[in-house]
Amino acid sequence: MVMPPGLRKFALTLHMVTSVGWLGAVATFLALAIAGLGGRDAGMTRAAYLSMDTVAWYVIVPLSFASPLTGLVQSLGTPWGLFRQYWVLLKLLMTIPSTLLLLVHMGPIDYTAGIAAKTGLSGADLHGMRMQLVIEASAALFVLLTATVLSVYKPKGMTRYGWRKQNMERSIAQP
């Protein structure tokens, strides 16, 4: 089902806003994670981890659902399809696990924020977990940047499924 041009533009706008918003929110999260890790002042560290928890729950999690969902609409409602082009398929295979991993890792984020709220964190407190937050946010940012680059460049490469569908459609159009 191909969307009419007006609806297609609207769906594309929604997908772009949610995807780039997700990228920006993860970049903010990473900045706070670095500030929290390197912060010598307990007040600063507490503020960083509490902000990270809020950004994660109220911005990153909703956008991590909105972006793949609008992407699904965009791919299924245009000739690009979901499984026809490698770049679309790769984006799907990168973003769905990212969302699932994010949900799994909300636990450590909540835990760190909870400890920071009660006692403040400094020096070596929860160092492994705090370092993990920095690394995971960096990895997430890398994945989202890759997805953005794929969307802009749309590298060539049709899947076998896409090729079969294309041939089928051509044979229907030109009997």
């Binding site: 790769l90 407190d125 160092h127 492994g128 977990m129 990895a139 890759t146 490469g157 049709m158 090729w163």
Partner: protein, 47 residues
């Protein structure tokens, strides 16, 4: 608007950019596994 198109009569293979991406992703995964195994990064390291 650019539309997807493949004009060849033979089935397409895996593009070069995807092979390169796969290699980089595999190297990254190995790095993550090593970091976890060496205990440099991970949950439960409460010092």
């Amino acid at each position: 608007m650019i539309e997807p198109r493949e004009s060849k009569a033979t089935p397409p293979g895996i593009p070069r950019w995807l092979k390169l991406f796969g290699m980089v992703a595999a190297a990254f995964l190995v790095l993550v596994i090593i970091l976890h195994l060496t205990g440099l990064v991970g949950m439960g390291h409460h010092h």
